[in-house]
Symmetry: C2
Subunit: 213 residues, 2 copies
């Protein structure tokens, strides 16, 4: 029952990530793409996760986390985001460079170390990308946000969250001065920051940034 492995944690985390900001359940093919594995590997692993009561899945259908699966996924996310925060706060990493390191460390730290890091950092509620850090009890501190692609033209707000999925985008934004906490205005396809900085965004870019509502 307390069975786990890096692979299982990655599946749970990825299933969860898909529903974190929209409610459509994930399909096996999307999961396979995100994890960069063959579809047949997904079928196999999902079967195992279902047997452990972590997901529900009937053949040829979508995949949904159970309560148990969600709680395990949130644990992994918590690890990942606390590690990222630690790397930036203590180890001098740029907020655009922490993802890969955290991807490995999230599977390696004990509950005790996780707790020590959390305490050391002062129990932060958001990571360097602005993603909320699930608390130890599973609760999540959230603020109202608008996804850039859904914001009206001319919308102004503070950058709350930037998806860390695309490292290139992160570096472009960092270079353009766009980071969580910065006040920006949307003008067409361009995001204007302070001091005349501006970054032009494609459709994907506009799906990766959230501002205060």
């Amino acid at each position: 029952m307390a069975n786990t492995s890096p692979a299982i944690e990655d599946y749970l985390k990825t299933i969860h990530a898909h529903t974190e900001w929209q409610p459509e359940p994930i399909t096996p093919s999307v999961l396979a793409t995100r994890l960069a594995v063959a579809p047949s590997s997904v079928t196999e692993m999902v079967k195992k996760l279902a047997a452990q009561g972590l997901v529900t899945h009937q053949p040829y259908g979508a995949i949904r986390l159970t309560d148990a699966g969600l709680s395990r996924a949130l644990g992994v996310v918590r690890r990942h985001r606390l590690v990222e925060t630690w790397l930036v706060s203590d180890m001098g990493y740029g907020w655009d460079a922490v993802h890969d390191e955290a991807e490995v460390l999230e599977h390696a730290i004990s509950d005790r170390l996780l707790e020590a890091i959390d305490t050391h950092l002062g129990r932060p509620v958001r990571d360097p990308h602005g993603d909320p850090i699930p608390q130890a009890d599973g609760s999540i501190v959230s603020v109202p946000t608008v996804l850039l692609s859904e914001a009206p033209a001319g919308h102004a707000g503070t950058v709350v969250r930037i998806s860390d999925r695309d490292p290139l985008l992160l570096r472009r934004l960092a270079a353009g001065g766009i980071r969580p906490g910065v006040l920006v205005t949307l003008s067409g396809d361009t995001l204007d920051g302070p001091d005349g900085t501006a970054v032009e965004l494609d459709a994907d870019g506009r799906e990766a940034i959230w501002l205060t509502a």
Copy 2:
């Protein structure tokens, strides 16, 4: 050639540990015991290590690290000891409680993070047990020491190093005030510390503590 895995790293580290403080090469059965695996597993893995040029081994003979193997082993030891030092310095771990955590993390941190931790800690040369931390170039800063079991009766000195192999011993010593840096005197089977503290040691215990010569 840059092939590695936690298992390979553990074998190299354990082979190295056996020769770190005495020159007898390790035998497969001792290696199996230390790693808590079956002897047949050792045969298999040693064959693989030999094929990669990391150890020399002829059938039914002892196992010796090659230069390449030694350098890889020192890298793992460096990771392990820097992680331990970090856990104690930054995360509030006791020096008797860091071993297991480091055992996992040593396989998970990147070269970049290792470097960041080293810098953050001010490039320490000894870990919390007093074990020397191999430097990035493979060099080791050493001081002359005497193993307790080889020290003359009445020998006094500063505790330089305590083997972290036995967690119970570490806790007993920590409880008795014996830790690296403390001035002690050997009286028979008992090690006297400052403030009238004293810890009685069995043969294993006397093989686990080094004092300044």
